[in-house]
């Protein structure tokens, strides 16, 4: 009896080993490889021509190619779907020579007609493009010179055009596809020329890409000629506290925007790698309202900047991954971080400046006042990112130098804009991302859409316009922006906090992860999975 049980056990063991080895073989290189990528926001629409979310580019940057690409290391433009291009001496005409060997995922050939159809789709007022149409600036006419040559005519010089054309929002889509599906449905059936094809998109659930086997026109910023991984599935993790757990449980392979304390924990974990990626654009920042006393006084604004211990704030909220920002813009080709006019943490100086402008604390309640008006400051903070944590520390620092501070967190962009329109704020937070500093024009021009400082100076307007129109001389353009930055620092128009660093964590089996110049978009073609 006993020996029967023993032999039974033996047989079972042998069989299980056999099964296990068979199972192990089947997960070899034959199996199509799949990667799960966590997204942090479920966008309301993912049509790059029509919608504005940064998140949509994470999958779609690899579905579309652009006429040109921006090299993240050099800040120079390299050929994409356009082999080369020329800019007319007056800066008004850009002529692109297109590649002749490109076909869309649905078999439609890529040519000058396709470029025209794409730009027409973006400019069609019925399509209500939220971002792409603005990126085209003063575009007047698109002219087909021959099948593979296309000219873009502008009504005035517009230096950011190439930058716009290198972003996913102006990616080239198959005219057959978007004409078949119409503006509402196309986002579920997107067709580009990129290294991956969109298979399926179920909002709030998943987005699936598969490898484009015909891809043969990789730009020089891609390291591999073809994608390695068969399928990439994107899933949504909007609650930031669930992201690290999803990685640790093996649900996903990669995710961005991991909270700093989780990132620190995972960075020392042998199973994961942390990739901190700087995102170009504006820093997290608080604009001073120059239209409302006491922040209408530049000296008070300087005092308020000196009063804030930004190193402490940045270290506390963002850990070791970020440094304090001093300028209103940063990108690889536009290093505007000037060292001349840095207003460092110096509470003594802050108090001296306030004393000098008549804000004194003589009545003994600890709150400064001038002509019997107490020094009262109202901060309005956006709810996203860590703006509200930073705002709490700003509040603490301003209270230390004798101000009474009211802090309000607007629960969304709508309420934030509403608070701004009402004008009852001394400092308000907002920041956008982008690779071209022309972004600053809408924030610092007198009539800019986001002129939340209320500052109006014709000379500054002229400087920003001139910089936007300097298309042919990048060095002159950089010099103009440097001039602008020192003007802004002189006027102390904003309290910059830090430039965004996206904390992306991937498990160790993922290799080759790097990002496009815009910072947000992974170069999926170069990803590999090791077994």
């Amino acid at each position: 009896m006993k020996s029967r049980i023993q032999s039974l056990t033996l047989i079972t063991l042998v069989f299980s080993f056999l099964f296990l080895s068979i199972a192990a073989c089947s997960t070899g290189p034959e199996e199509p490889s799949t990667l799960i990528y966590g997204l942090t926001l479920a966008p309301t629409g993912i049509d790059p021509h029509l919608n504005a979310s940064s998140e949509l580019g994470i999958p779609l940057h690899s579905v579309y190619d652009t006429l040109v690409f921006l090299n993240p290391d050099t800040g120079k433009f390299v050929p994409g779907l356009a082999d080369n291009w020329t800019i007319s001496p007056d800066g008004l005409t850009y002529t692109f020579t297109l590649r002749r060997d490109v076909i869309f995922h649905d078999g439609t050939p890529f040519n000058a007609q396709a470029v025209l159809a794409n730009l027409d789709r973006i400019r069609d007022p019925d399509n209500h493009s939220q971002k792409a149409v603005f990126m085209l600036g003063p575009l007047e006419e698109v002219e087909i010179i021959d099948d593979y040559t296309v000219a873009i005519h502008l009504s005035e010089p517009y230096a950011p055009l190439l930058d716009s054309l290198s972003d996913v929002y102006l990616g080239m889509a198959s005219p057959t596809a978007f004409e078949t599906w119409g503006p509402a449905e196309y986002q579920f059936h997107q067709v580009g020329t990129g290294p991956y094809r969109l298979v399926e998109y179920i909002p709030n659930d998943r987005l699936t890409l598969d490898r484009n086997p015909d891809y043969a026109w990789a730009p020089s910023i891609y390291l591999q000629p073809q994608a390695d991984i068969e399928n990439i599935i994107f899933r949504f993790y909007e609650d930031s506290s669930t992201r690290a757990l999803a990685l640790e449980s093996g649900e996903i392979d990669i995710i961005g925007e991991v909270p700093p304390h989780d990132a620190t924990r995972l960075s020392v974990d042998a199973d994961f790698t942390l990739y901190p990626v700087s995102i170009p654009g504006q820093p997290m920042q608080f604009f001073f309202n120059t239209q409302l006393p006491p922040t209408d006084d530049a000296i008070v604004r300087r005092a308020l900047i000196h009063a804030v211990d930004r190193s402490y704030a940045v270290n506390t909220v963002f850990g070791v991954y970020s440094v304090v920002a001093h300028s209103p813009f940063s990108a690889s080709a536009f290093n505007l971080e000037s060292q001349d006019l840095i207003l460092d943490y110096d509470p003594t100086r802050a108090e001296a400046l306030l004393e000098a402008t008549g804000w004194t604390a003589e009545d003994g309640d600890g709150i400064r006042s001038k002509n019997n008006i107490p020094l009262e400051l109202r901060i309005v903070s956006p709810p996203w990112g860590s703006n509200s944590e930073i705002a709490q520390l700003i509040r603490a620092d301003w209270e230390t130098i004798g101000a009474r501070v009211i802090l309000e967190v607007a629960p969304g962009f709508g309420p934030l804009k509403q608070a701004q329109t009402q004008g009852e704020y001394h400092a308000i937070g907002i920041n956008f991302f982008g690779t071209d500093p022309d972004l600053l024009r809408s924030f610092f021009s007198s009539n800019g859409l986001y002129n939340w400082t209320g500052f109006a100076d014709p000379e500054q307007d002229q400087l920003l316009l001139q910089a936007a129109q300097t298309s042919l001389d990048p060095e002159e353009r950089l010099r103009l922006y440097q001039q602008f930055v020192s003007d802004v620092q002189e006027e102390a128009l904003l309290l910059p906090i830090r430039f965004y660093v996206n904390l992306i964590v991937a498990n160790k089996r993922v290799e080759g992860l790097h990002f496009s110049a815009q910072g947000w978009y992974p170069i999926l073609i170069d990803l590999r999975i090791t077994h």
């Binding site: 930031s240 506290s241 909270p259 304390h261 924990r265 402490y312 506390t316 909220v317 903070s381 709810p383 509200s388 944590e389 705002a391 709490q392 520390l393 509040r395 603490a396 209270e399 230390t400 009211i406 802090l407 309000e408 967190v409 629960p411 309420p415």
Partner: protein
């Protein structure tokens, strides 16, 4: 005596909360808004309940919270009692179409949970602690009106009320001189139980970030920010969570004791 032990402990806890809130500036460690030490310092000699993610002293914030939370709930309860009690009284003393209308409105509003009603109110008015107080006050009113009406109704059937009416007393005179004074003790125990609901309501709304100001030293808001640090700094959620639970428990059991004592 054994029966009274929970009530006794509850009273002790509420007394402690009261004392702490009165003496807050003396027993705290400076301002509840200022960072005082390294962020996320565990409880220690200097920071007995540790520090939060921004380096603020948790004890100080808890102590100031002892002023905000019970105060806010008390105000909300007062609003509920005045609005709910008044409409209940009117409905009970003037029967007929007015009673039916008030109860119809109350029932319609009861179809929506009180907390949801409060959240809708905050959504319409914009965030802030005063809005939260008003919202919870209004949100609790329909339920309170219904219960108050039932209490008032009992007294309307009493012999002395019938006698007074027979002698020609008007409805408002009867309400003022007979119904309201006699219903007082029952209303008080109802209000006490309601206070626990209001406490839960205000902390829920502030937990959801509806207080507007994230730096507010308020237990619900503190519990919410502590949620992100459950693994690396559990004390951030533990202490406000404990304080909220203990207070609700204490008020509930005192309310129950109060209701029982009437039956004795």
């Amino acid at each position: 005596m054994r029966r009274d032990l929970p009530a006794l402990l509850s009273a002790v806890w509420l007394f402690i909360v009261c004392m702490v809130s009165i003496t807050a500036p003396m027993i705290s460690n400076g301002s509840p808004y200022q960072p005082v030490a390294e962020p996320l310092t565990p409880p220690s000699q200097h920071n007995i309940l540790g520090t939060d993610a921004l380096g603020r002293d948790v004890w100080t914030r808890m102590v100031y919270g002892a002023r905000l939370n019970p105060g806010a709930s008390l105000l909300a309860t007062a609003i509920t009692v005045v609005i709910g009690g008044f409409s209940g009284l009117i409905a009970a003393s003037i029967s007929g179409w007015l009673d039916r209308t008030i109860m119809w409105i109350t029932n319609a509003m009861l179809a929506i949970p009180g907390l949801l009603l409060a959240m809708l109110f905050v959504a319409a008015m914009g965030p802030g602690l005063p809005t939260v107080i008003l919202a919870v006050g209004f949100g609790g009113a329909p339920g309170f009106a219904r219960l108050a009406r039932t209490i008032f109704h009992q007294f309307r059937e009493r012999g002395y009320v019938t006698a007074a009416v027979a002698l020609g007393a008007g409805r408002s005179w009867v309400a003022q001189h007979h119904i309201l004074p006699n219903a007082q003790s029952q209303l008080l125990s109802l209000a006490t139980t309601h206070f626990a609901w209001a406490f839960m309501g205000t902390t829920t709304l502030t937990f959801l970030g509806l207080a507007g100001d994230p730096s507010i030293p308020e237990w619900g808001a503190m519990l919410n920010t502590g949620r992100a640090h459950l693994i690396d700094a559990p004390w951030l959620a533990l202490f406000p969570g404990l304080a909220i639970s203990l207070t609700i428990l204490a008020v509930q059991s005192l309310g129950a004791r109060l209701a029982n004592s009437e039956d004795d």
